[in-house]
Structure formats: structure tokens, C-alpha cells
């Protein structure tokens, strides 16, 4: 083979007019428009929601102490700080805070995934995940699943629209009627959704520490274990009442 090998285009000048054009760059905005700022919003609002979930789960477990115990708890929520504060005022304030957290969490998630989509306009022909391949799917699609579940959940047990007992009933009655063995598919729906929440939190809780800059080499093991533990406790705690009702343990 005596062919002269000339320098290929790899080392040839690449200053074609199109290549010279610098990509459009945006001027950085404030903290909340930065990708890191949005992640902080995700972390803080996520922490608020985890706090809510823990209290919610503890409240649900009251059903194991009887209908009255559960109803008293529901009533106590509405009469928090009474008579200093009017009926249901503290609960309403907490609810507004929670809705705000949900909205901000979703806003940050949507704008970050929009940003991610723009950062990779051309997809890979072949792509093989090397670490936690499921994470992104669990976080984004899982998050979406949770949204739909929460809508159903509110219609079912809060507003009673899709609940056999309707709105004008005691909370414990709604709960027990809602997970009646004949409505096994509702229990199944909750099972899937709650497991989804657990998978979401397993990554999310650790991720919040990382985003807030508290994770490091020494703490990572403990933080990941904590995230896993909180997720498992929440999943078990949330699934215990519906399963117990469906299988007739709680009547």
C-alpha cells in the first residue's frame, strides 16, 4: 500500500462560517432562574412535603385505634389552636403552604426538564445507562403519576366525590368505605401510587441533601440509608390502613 495518506479533515481548519457562529447564550438571571436555584426550590419544597407526609401517615395510623380515634384526630386538625384561632384557620394556612410547595416543586421540575430537553436536541441512537438508569424516569414520570393520584385521592377521601359515603360523612367512614373489599381496585391503585411515592423519595430525599450541599463523601452512605429508610417507613405506614381495611382487619 503506497498511497500517500493526507491529513484528513479531522485536523483541517474547521472555520466554516456556520462553525464560527457562537451559540446563543443567555445572560444569567437571578438565583431562582438559575438551574441551581431551581434545584434548591425543589429541595426545600420537597422537604416541606416529606414533613407533611410523615404527619399524614401518623394520622392515618389512628384508624387502627378505632373510628372514634381517627375522627377525633380529623376534628383536632380543624380546631388547632382554638379558641385563639378560629375554626379551621390553622389548617387552612397549612394547606395553603402545602399547595404552594406542590406548585413550586412542579414549576421547578417542569422548567428543569424543559431546560434538559433543550440541552439535548439530538437524541442518541444508542444510550445505555451506567448508574441508576431508572432515576430520571421515576422522578419525572413518577412525579406525574403522583399528581394524578393526588387528584383522585382528594376526590375520594377529602371531597368524597368518588367515595361511596360522599362528602357529608365521618372521615373514618369514608376511609373504611373507600377501601371496602368490593373496591379492591382502589386499594391496588393506592398500592401502586404509594410505592411510586416511595421510589420518588428514595432518590429525592438524598438528592435534596446533595442539592443543598450537605452531602459529602463521608456522609453519603448515611444520607442514602436515611433516604431509603424514610421511604420504606412511609410506604409501609401509608399502605397499612388501606390493606388492613381491604382484608377486613379494620372494620
Amino acid at each position: 500500500m503506497t498511497a500517500t495518506i493526507e491529513r484528513g479533515s479531522a485536523t483541517a481548519p474547521v472555520n466554516t462560517p456556520a462553525a464560527k457562529k457562537t451559540p446563543t447564550r443567555k445572560k444569567p438571571g437571578g438565583f431562582l432562574t438559575s438551574s441551581n436555584g431551581k434545584k434548591v426550590v425543589m429541595a426545600v419544597t420537597g422537604a416541606v412535603m416529606v414533613g407533611f407526609l410523615v404527619l399524614h401517615m401518623l394520622g392515618n395510623l389512628k384508624i387502627f385505634f378505632g373510628r372514634d380515634s381517627f375522627n377525633d384526630y380529623a376534628h383536632a386538625l380543624r380546631t388547632l389552636l382554638e379558641p385563639i384561632a378560629p375554626y379551621r384557620s390553622v389548617l387552612t394556612i397549612l394547606e395553603i403552604g402545602l399547595v404552594l410547595a406542590v406548585v413550586l416543586h412542579m414549576w421547578a421540575a417542569i422548567s428543569l426538564s424543559y431546560r434538559a430537553g433543550k440541552a439535548r436536541p439530538v437524541k442518541y441512537v444508542a444510550k445505555k445507562s451506567q448508574a441508576n438508569g431508572y432515576t430520571t424516569h421515576i422522578m419525572r414520570w413518577g412525579g406525574l403519576t403522583i399528581v394524578f393520584f393526588v387528584i383522585w385521592h382528594l376526590l375520594d377521601l377529602t371531597f368524597g366525590v368518588v367515595n361511596p359515603k360522599g362528602f357529608d360523612s365521618a372521615p373514618a367512614d369514608r376511609m373504611i368505605a373507600g377501601f371496602d373489599p368490593s373496591r379492591w381496585w382502589v386499594t391496588l391503585l393506592y398500592l401502586v401510587a404509594v410505592v411510586m411515592v416511595g421510589l420518588h423519595l428514595r432518590h429525592g430525599i438524598w438528592s435534596a441533601f446533595q442539592t443543598l450541599g450537605w452531602a459529602n463523601r463521608d456522609r453519603n452512605k448515611v444520607l442514602r440509608a436515611t433516604a431509603g429508610l424514610i421511604s420504606i417507613v412511609l410506604v409501609v405506614g401509608f399502605l397499612a390502613p388501606p390493606l388492613a381495611i381491604t382484608f377486613g382487619v379494620v372494620k
Binding site: 498511497a3 479531522a10 451559540p23 436555584g37 428543569l112 440541552a119 441512537v125 451506567q130 446533595q210 443543598l212
Partner: protein, 246 residues
Amino acid sequence: MNLTLRVWRQSGPSDAGRMVTYKVEDVSPDMSFLEMLDVLNERLIVEGDDPIAFDHDCREGICGMCGMVINGVAHGEQRATTTCQLHMRHFEDGAEITIEPWRAAPFPVVKDLVVDRSAFDRIIQAGGFVSVPAGSAPDAHSVPVRKEDADAAFDAATCIGCGACVAACPNGSASLFTAAKITHLSLLPQGQPERLSRAKAMVDQMDSEGFGGCTNTGECTAVCPKGIPLDTIAQMNSDYLKANAK
């Protein structure tokens, strides 16, 4: 070894590009991945075809020039290895190998597998330096540094800026690169005066280049040829938060 390659061919930035299949025969298992491409290119040149353009320089895994997505993994499936240090013995005879360039909007394809990584340079220019009085090198013991800090800073400093982290990230984020550069300097005494302004300037530059945000998936650190750990990103986040709190 006989291989079938599916390679991304794109004649220039404005070309749409496509995957083209090539057969490569008599590949030695001792060849590096780039040498295998060299063999194919020599044949393409002899046949009057345009050789496949790819970036490379030192070919010993320290310059950060080479890099391509091999079978869906940046730098190939061999861990902590650059493409030039990846050897053909890790592939099976008769294998079909898919080769693509780094995919990210801030890394526009120049030609075939060559992408323009100037965005990284601009992130460095934004703050990846220390302002010190120039002059002769100071005595090594004039500024004491804790061993742990020195080690962690050095781990971060091994980043060669190849861009595999961006290529692997599902969000096209440059967080691992930027974090490595920030951590490297923020752990050392010399980096303290500009620590917070540096973090802010570099993260803001990363954002304005159009890179995605970090979702802590860890794809980056898994493909990083230098194994830069994910906690550099926590360090970056911490510095960035403090810079904004000021």
C-alpha cells in the same frame, strides 16, 4: 477481529448527519479504539472516501481531547478509561459497535465525531483560576494544606475536561465538570479569596451556555474517565448557595 461499525457521519455543522455502517476487518485486539478507527480511515482515504473525523491528541488518557459515545456509553463501557485507552480486546469478534459524538446543544458537532467544546473554556474563563502575584514558585511548605484537602483537591483536579459527563447526563448538564473545577480550587488556601464569586460566576456561565440542570442521577461520575466523585457537585452547590446568600 472483524467488526461492524455504525458511525455518525456529518460533513459539517449545517449537515443533518446520519449513521453509516462500515465493516472493519483484521482488527488486532491490542489496538486502541482510536487505532482501530485509524485503520478504517486509512482504507477510506485510499478508497477516496472522506475519513471519519474525531478529536484526539495525547492518546495516553490525559489530554481530554478524545471522546465518543460507544454503544451508548461515553468513552465505552470500560470504567475510568478514555476512548484512546480503550482497547479492542474488550470487544467481541464480530461485534456491532455504535459510535456517536457527544450530544449536547452547547457542544455543536463540527464534523462527524468532533464537537466544539469551547463552552467549557468559557466556564473556566468565568472563574476557574486563582489570582495570585506572579513570580517564582513559592516554597512547597510556605502555605500549609491538610492532607485530606490536598487529596480531595487533587482528585477534583484530575478532570481533563473531556465532556463525557455532559454526554452521559440525561439532562445534558455540565455540573460534574464545573463542580470539579470549583472544588479543586475551593479546597485549597490559594482558592479561598475568590471562592464564592468563582462558584457564582462559573455556575452562571454554565447555565448561560445552555447546559441542563443536575438531577443527581450519577451517570456522569459513572462514565468519568477520572472518576470525579459526585460530592464535588455538593461542594459546588454549597458554594453557590453561600455566594447567593451574601
